[in-house]
Amino acid sequence: MVIKIEGVTKLYGRTRALEGVTLQVDRGEFIAVTGPSGSGKSTLMHIMGLLDVPTKGQVWFEDKETSKLNESQLARLRNQKIGFVFQQFNLLARTTALDNVQLPLIYAGVKSQERETKAKAMLTKVGLESKLGHTPAQLSGGQQQRVAIARALINEPAVVLADEPTGNLDSKSGQEIMEIFKQLNREGKTIIVVTHEANIAAYAKRVITVRDGKVVEE
């Protein structure tokens, strides 16, 4: 088991984003979380990714109950165990691909030589070995998202969480990105993708549908 959430409710003011959600993610799974916009699927991902804390309920990460952890401890857990991929890529502007990928390692306290070696290897893995010195502005959307994936993988996380990773891409680049996730899952990575597109969700082995803050079907 990688992540287990139990009876999780999340309130934003008076809005109920999640209501009593219980879910378990096992090692090696490839899960798609789908649902219409505003259904609470992003909130679910933020809570699974320890970016946000539930109003009610409990979240276990690898057998560790997380409600007692402070912000710094959560940050360290994210750093070591979770890789994030966002719809907006969220790469640092005017910063090379190589430096962008190294970012999590900097906060892990890894020495610069080791960081660079690992970052090069990871960018090679996503097919960008020729773009190491390129800044985001010099890369296409698909390439930027691959840099983001390399960044998510650099710390060898237990799980990769992707929030609408193809939302800003044309369908061809989107498929390429999903192929990368598929390959990573084949290699044993646990992958969770949040999407509202059925054809993207089709890549996953397990599809969770969220509606009005509740898991309605699996």
């Binding site: 940050a75 999590p104 306290g109």
Partner: protein
């Protein structure tokens, strides 16, 4: 955990990425530090020069001035000696007979126009005795000093300061020439060694003539003041009492005053110290303003980089790491400003020193630099805390 070195690199890289903004932000600190150093240097230079001039006078001298000398609060008595000048050479001679007193030097003076072959200069004409040379350490570099005989004989002779010589005699030898002082011809017998001076006080802009000649020509019977040379530094107070006793028999208490040069110096030092501190204080305000500038830019930077902060947090930056990054950025900015400002201030001081006395005290550099670093920390904390407190999802959602 992220290492301190990496944090510094992260902060440094982010400053280099925004070069123009970084430079403009430091400008406030640069100007503040440079202004503090330069103004304090000017004050200290002035203080030093005045001290030097007093030390040239010798420390075993007293001045006797007409009227009540009130340096500390001149509003009460008006300018010293204006109304009740009763000092004459007679008083100076009487004082010279005192037990602890070596000699006295009478000084009478007036402003007059001096001319030579069509050239004219308005200068300070001093009537005194030849002892002026030793009292004021003012030898001639050309010609000779006129002597006691010239005084007793009412001779129309003069020694001229460098400034007067330069203005009247372009290249010709002044010694032996006759200059006209308000219609009377004086023979220039010597040229004084230059003493320099500044701030409107040119010690070379003077013509020194026998006191008898000056008194007769200008009908001056009173002295501006006279110097008293005391036999030893230790006897200054005793000599002062002695002078008061001697003159007290002839004059009222408020018709003369005995002033110790050390007292004048101490008072001047105090005034100049206050002026220097005030100048430094005004300049320090610009340092604070510079600090507020840094805070402004850092706040803007935090807002502008909200998404970046969110991302850094998502990939594992602790609140402390974010806080330190922004704090280090602010401190680096103000330290860079401190370094550049110090160089500018010291450099400008060195250049100005060619024209007016400037002395840059080490403490001014240390204080200005230290304050600039402190300003970075103080004004960096608020934006850094704001950055550290951002919630990662709020920050990532920020458009």
């Amino acid at each position: 955990m992220i290492s301190g070195g990496s944090l510094i690199k992260v902060a440094g890289r982010s400053l280099v990425t925004n070069k123009t903004r970084s430079i403009l932000t430091t400008l406030g600190i640069i100007i503040g530090v440079a202004a503090v150093i330069l103004l304090v240097s000017l004050g200290a230079g002035l203080q030093r020069q005045i001290t030097q001039q007093f030390e040239d006078l010798g420390t075993n001298l007293l001045f006797v001035m007409p009227g009540k000398f009130q340096f500390r609060d001149s509003r009460e008595g008006g300018p010293p000696g204006v109304a009740v000048n009763k000092l004459t050479t007679k008083e100076a001679d009487l004082v010279a007979a005192g037990e602890h007193i070596v000699a006295t030097l009478p000084i009478a003076s007036t402003n007059a126009t001096v001319s030579y072959q069509g050239e004219e200069v308005s200068t300070f004409v001093i009537g005194t005795t030849p002892e002026y040379a030793s009292f004021r350490n003012s030898p001639v570099e050309q010609g000779r000093w006129w002597g006691q005989k010239d005084v007793t004989g009412n001779k129309l002779v003069a020694v001229a300061g460098q400034t007067v010589v330069e203005k009247l005699f372009q290249s010709s030898d002044p010694v032996g020439q006759k200059v006209t002082v308000r219609g009377k011809k004086y023979e220039v017998v010597g040229v004084l060694t230059s003493k320099g001076g500044a701030f409107g006080n040119d010690q070379d802009d003077q013509l020194i003539v026998p006191i008898t000649a000056l008194q007769k020509q200008f009908n001056i019977t009173k002295l501006s003041y006279f110097y008293v040379q005391v036999d030893s530094n230790d006897n200054l107070d005793r000599a002062s009492a002695e002078i008061k006793a001697i003159l007290g028999k002839r004059l009222k208490e408020d018709e003369f005053s005995v002033v110790n040069s050390k007292e004048i110096l101490a008072t001047l030092q105090q005034i100049l110290g206050t002026v220097t501190a005030a100048l430094g204080g005004i300049a320090a305000i610009s340092l604070v303003v510079g600090g507020i500038g840094i805070m402004n830019i850092m706040l803007v930077s935090v807002t502008e980089r909200t998404r970046e902060i969110g991302l850094r947090k998502a990939v594992g930056a602790t609140p402390r790491a974010i806080m330190m990054q922004f704090l280090i950025e602010a401190v680096m900015l103000s330290l860079a400003g401190g370094v550049i400002g110090t160089l500018l201030g010291v450099g400008a001081g060195a250049i100005l020193n060619r024209f007016i006395p400037v002395h840059t005290p080490v403490w001014a550099v240390v204080v200005a630099f230290g304050v600039s670093a402190l300003v970075g920390v103080i004004f960096g904390v608020f934006p850094a805390r704001r950055a550290a407190k951002l919630s990662p999802i709020e920050a990532l959602r920020y458009e």
